[in-house]
Subunit: 214 residues, 2 copies
DNA sequence: AAACGTTTGAAACAGTTGTTTAAATCGGGA
DNA sequence: TCCCGATTTAAACAACTGTTTCAAACGTTT
């Protein structure tokens, strides 16, 4: 079972790794198969040998990134109180899309796919994003003691996700506009704590003012 | 001064218009000069005649979009109370990047530029985004009665912007995940009201719990 | 050793890309 | 009317794109 420790990754894996980096940096159109194969140290024809074509390589790479970003979790796994659960949810999401220790292209690929979707978006949303979102909605409902309408839950969920994705989608702008946020080595924890507190207050305000039961 | 009413737009303007649509839909690399010129009803060589090359056309188009999205305003122009000002700020921003009555490519181009910046990003941020952000920060400070540290103001600002841009960057996902939000014809007003209320509560919570004066 | 399917290699393919060229056309003043 | 700059046109250019081809090399099984 256990292979030799220093065995070089097989060509197919190296291709996905290199493709992730290049697609993440340049996008699907900007990336060239020649750069990908050069970086993966494989022959030019390898892409069409291991994958049908450039697009299938992209879809495979995207699928790989989504699987590691959207790990399935239930609210109960994240903590006992809704506040704990929300913080853990946000912190986990931020880590998976922004932690520089992880391969950076996971988050980059996700950001690109969200803004300019490929034909894989539908299955992607249903397979990965919706279950993840359901967990978030459960947390929000319990944080508001069940006093929110479904519409209000959706809006609150969008607010939480929007705040998180800002640091991924608009990182370049944030670096120039608010570098103080990103300077601390553990800035992800600070940001997660802020988003959690900020959102909990927002949810509480939704629950108190004009609660609609539906 | 007044030209004939039905005078067709000059070729250069038609080029920027068509380029905006194509760049917005396909991105810089995905767009082809042939499609742009075809849509603008202009000869292929017109791009290199009116602009140096494809890139300068892109930068010119981007500049055009930014100028209409980021209109300079002061908090006092938006309302008397901080709550009014914040709502007006959010509502205005959402309208400019999402209102289907406006040319849709303005917002699309902005979203693309934020996630994969061109070499214009620096000047863009300083010219358009920073003044706009300063206005938002002023509103946040007054909404919190001056009780927030600069870091807290920055975080709150990122939260507000993040919530707004979510509906632009992740529109495709939102359509599939929470279509009920986007269904109403005046959904932009609902969303703006939600983001304003949600954020005001978040800011108030920041101001009360552990306020840091710095 | 021979034969096998699998993987790699270099070269070439056809199509598309952005850009350039130079001739043709237009619109007003001299 | 003629001339001249500005604009438009069609054609061609070289460079690059994704993909294919087919032979060479490899590793395992007869």
């Amino acid at each position: 079972m256990a292979t030799l420790p220093a065995a070089p990754a097989p060509a197919r894996d190296r291709l996905i790794q290199a493709a992730g980096e290049v697609f993440g940096d340049q996008g699907f159109d900007g990336a060239t198969v020649r750069e990908i194969t050069r970086r993966a140290k494989v022959n030019l024809a390898a892409i069409n040998y291991y994958f049908r074509d450039k697009e299938e390589l992209y879809l495979e790479t995207l699928n790989h990134a989504m699987r590691t970003i959207f790990v399935r979790t239930q609210p109960e796994d994240l903590g006992t109180t809704p506040a704990e659960q929300l913080l853990a949810y946000i912190s986990g999401l931020l880590q998976r899309i922004l932690n520089p220790a992880r391969p950076g292209w996971h988050g980059k690929l996700l950001a690109r796919e969200l803004t300019s979707p490929s034909r894989l978006l539908n299955v992607l949303v249903e397979t990965f994003v919706r279950p993840h979102r359901d967990t978030l909605h459960k947390i929000i409902r319990s944080a508001a003691d069940g006093q929110l309408s479904e519409m209000q839950v959706s809006l609150a969920g969008a607010s939480v996700i929007g705040q998180c994705l800002y640091y991924r989608n608009c990182r370049a702008v944030c670096e120039r506009l608010s570098p103080e946020i990103l300077e601390a080595p553990d800035y992800l924890d600070h940001v997660a704590a802020h988003i959690a507190d900020f959102s909990l207050a927002g949810i509480a305000a939704q629950a108190t003012s004009a609660p609609r039961h539906q």
